[in-house]
Symmetry: D2
Subunit: 349 residues, 4 copies
């Protein structure tokens, strides 16, 4: 039945399959009956392990996908007349088909970003109309870690943003679809992006880290996040056979699999960035701090490369393309791609 | 890591794990890269197999769970001022935490049901206010097959309801979370509940049929279901590593696994029903036509039984309990449970 | 330009025009400029007068219409996974084209009512699924005063319902589209239905009481009704030339106009009820406690009457019709109608 | 009761009261009973007169306010996964407290504007992601006529935008809160902005033109605007005593009152612009084509002026203020204000 697996690409970290240890965990928890909807022992174990990372007070809700995790988490923080301040180009703004507006009923206000990252200057400029009933009221600042362009907020930068938000009565949401990559990059634990830096709710992504499909909403402020259990269910994000979602997180949090996967993907991105930057005519568009490489190269070269390797053109007018690495990217994959890049650049340059 | 699998129960068909053939399919499609979000060969195969069942014009959208499938499908048929007519007690009405109202913006109008099934008499009584701008406008009739109380609509009954709806400018939606059980029970193919009987959109459930977690929205009327791709994404039901959802359906549709699983579960329910009905003091509350057995018994007996076996009390005032069978229920499970039931009834009766 | 005014009817209290004192108030506040959106002196005066009635802590938000007032008020009390318990037949349930579900995102759970009024027994039966994430969570009990069938809750009955709600962590909403009629009927002030009895938010209707079109949301629990200013604006219920809405309330609250209008309408309903009840073959369907008379009479008589006088058939199967009186109904109107009723009953009986 | 009318200002055209002919119309249609919700003779007359302006096929729905008219009209054109392209700074984007996102469920995509007006170049740049399920799908272009900065689209410019939209399967919505001012400015009829130029749905504002509070949704494409009656009711925009809203439009459309009011306000803005532009140090920020004057002047001068005359600072960083004229602005008001401006500029300059 199954087609033979396709070759590895740099298209996206969700073109990868499932890490073998995750697949093994699915098999290991199969057989027999377990209470549905999360009242099972595997889920208990997953929650315990997530609390080891994010702190004993972390409130944990597994969801199906990243859009679901973001929307569920944000719903717990916002009412419809309140708005989200987020970077122009944030996943919640441009890649979720309007799910946040649809389900929050709230406006997303975009903020100018620098290397994909919010700054307090940008926030100040975008924060208007406070107290004016004709305007939506900014209530949540949402950041992405690592960002959509492969950069990372330092811990200090997150603290600054959290302080800015909290001083104005706002809350901080973090979209961590690639949180593992940021932690590996910065050499800190996953929990470094949680309560300690002032994040109020975050999405922690398992899927791009080697899972089949599992994300977690982690909430730290019980007084504002009431109702998350109901919000998850009403948002169509509650799995009946939850043990299989939980097993994925247990596997990722066993023997540091999340870190092994993320560190490897990051290293492959570093290798790719270094190789590409050495090719005449190729310029890196953003600092390479996680598992994404953004490069500017001539359209003809981009087109020629994509005949062999699928990847996304990120910014067509600027000629910037995106190359993502994953837990299963090999050094050979990278070196072969760089060699081809050099060959194509030489031919088309 | 994983706790040992728990004993099999009659609590719910989603307390079961994953059928080994489904698990094998997940492993088989792993490795290598595949385009995300459904542009892969496994999904192509799953869609092709679903079209073999539901007809070449069936439009197929896989989703994560049953609530998601129902809400996505209904969204394609309704605008917010239009209403859904459904049975009192329908899953969309009482078990989805208000997701339909939340995401459709529409009112659900409940209709008196007989053995869990809608009738045209009930619909006539509930269908009020047509053309009156103060009232929501009934637009969709939603049925569940097999029903929440383990009964099945005959093909003729569905045709009658579809005709009733279509003659009034309405559409017919079918929640088929247990469609396989109905098909096995009636001895017809899955497609018997689709376009031929006049169903406009249906949810076809894989999860309770032995999958890990995969459901399908099947749509038959392209002129009214525009936008389903966007609706699925915006409804947070689009999987990135779609090949693994698709593989589950490929497995269920290979060598008749869906039918083997459903027929077995139905047979176990039949065996359980026959056994239970023979116990003095136990009365079956509904015809047993799929994989659910609803029985009236004294609360003391129910409580004593549940000390050993978890199951749900369906209607507390009426003393009705629900016992569900699954693909992995064994004859021994049933016979042991019936023996215990007889023992408990003798002791508490 | 204007057609000659039509004859007075018993169709609805919103078929009436505007009381002359209200019309005079509109003219009196015209001329010159005033700050828009409610920052004007007339609005200040209206709020002050409403606070004289409802208490110094009452928070006041004028809206355009009754549906708007109900939806704005309820939004301040509810989140989408929370539900409203209301009487079957409540205006919010059947006469607002689904606006509550659409804008709250919440389910309305209907409760069996007695003479249009909720009881704690009915509420107990409808209050299910608390703490179960698959179910919406009942959060608000909504009552209508006077009810849709012309009855009134006593002050004690409201206290009982408020206590029931508050003891379970719920809130009490009151739809007072005809609050003036209830106050006149019970011989109490408007404020008798507010904070003292435990109502958390109410809608106070001016329109049916002789205004052109003005309603007020009155809120008593600042800790739960945060954001009402924004909710009103976002709900499209904030008038720019607010002074004209406010002037209507100032007029109604000057020299007891609200009470004069309501008491007169009630007296006309009483007169009509007494006259009708004396006609052989006519039976009153509900106690007449406000300005509505509901009578059961043969369809042939109803049809014959409506050739001359427009009114609504309330319950077609039961043969119940609705006759509403207004501030401008005269004794002659009533006596003429009763005479015609007697004539028609004699002819068709 | 009423406070003495305040002095006339340049704060906003909705700080004005009601034109005497409109007030007289309210009195003229009072008395007697009329069917509620628009089934009355005055509404019939208003619709007939609006059809004389906008064409015999125009579908007319009166609403309470401009936000309501915009949201009702847009709802008839959009589904939640579809987006609105509008100018950055459009009323629907920044002055309706997020009502469009809340009630449409749709994203508003802002487009760079020139003098407040959309261009096809701007639209091309903002129109991304067509056919990509991860992106909202642009479906409606919304323009404001006259714009928020007092400019007008020419008829030809509207035709160009309509063609651009229709060629791409989109629709054109027009927010005409100040449509009368645009018509007066361009010397065309109101209908010049409707079906002939390709507008699909528009909001026609009565309130700022001298009404008490009445707006109209005018729809031209019956095949896409289905359900507007229900949408209006569900959107809480259906007046019960509709004859009084209708009477306002009848008055505005009698003896050219709409044109007299708009032309006068425009002339006062012209006079004010000419006077202000002649004051050294004052610069007009936008062409003055309707009833708004936007001027750049030093903050100290702006602050000094506002001690005497309330008006809004439009763009604080740029030092631009907004002065609006109305039907009741006098030449003396303008000349006095210009004299004060000159005095203040001389003093603070």
């Amino acid at each position: 039945m199954p087609p033979p697996p396709g070759p590895r690409t740099f298209a996206s970290d969700n073109w990868s399959g499932v890490h073998p240890e995750v697949l093994a965990a699915l098999a290991a928890v199969n057989g027999g009956h377990a209470p549905a909807y999360g009242a099972d022992a595997v889920t208990e174990e997953a929650v315990a392990r997530l609390r080891q990372e994010f702190g004993p007070d972390a409130d944990v809700y597994l969801t199906f996908n990243g859009t679901g995790a973001n929307v569920v988490g944000l719903q717990s923080l916002l009412r419809p007349h309140e708005a989200v301040l987020c970077a122009a180009g944030a996943h919640i703004d441009v890649d979720e088909c309007g799910a946040p507006e649809r389900f929050l009923g709230s406006k997303l206000v975009t903020v100018a970003a620098r290397d994909g990252k919010l700054t307090t200057e940008g926030l100040e400029a975008a924060w208007v109309g406070a107290g004016d009933e004709h305007h939506v009221q900014a209530r949540v600042v949402s950041v992405t870690q690592s960002t959509e362009v492969g950069t990372c907020y330092s811990v200090g930068e997150l603290v600054t943003l959290a302080d800015w938000a909290h001083q104005r009565g706002m809350l901080l949401h973090l979209d961590g679809a690639r949180l593992a990559n940021a932690a590996a990059s910065l050499g800190v634990g996953l929990g470094a992006f949680g309560q300690d830096v002032g994040v109020d709710v975050l999405s922690f992504g398992g899927t791009k880290n080697g899972a089949l499909g599992a994300e977690a909403v982690i909430a730290f402020r019980p007084e504002v996040q009431t109702g998350l259990r109901y919000i998850r269910k009403q948002s169509m994000q509650l799995a009946s056979k939850m043990r299989f979602a939980s097993a994925q997180f247990v596997a990722l949090l066993t023997d540091g699999l999340w870190l092994r996967n993320a560190a490897h993907a990051n290293a492959m991105a570093r290798r790719l960035a270094d190789g590409a930057a050495a090719v005449p005519g190729v310029r890196l568009a953003y600092p390479v701090q996680a598992n994404g490489v953004f490069a500017a190269l001539p359209p003809a070269a981009s087109d020629a490369l994509r005949e062999h390797h699928p990847f996304y053109v990120w910014d067509e007018p600027a000629g910037i393309v995106r190359w993502m690495t994953s837990f299963d990217t090999t050094e050979g994959d990278v070196d072969g791609f760089v060699a081809l890049l050099a060959e194509v650049m030489g031919r088309t340059g």
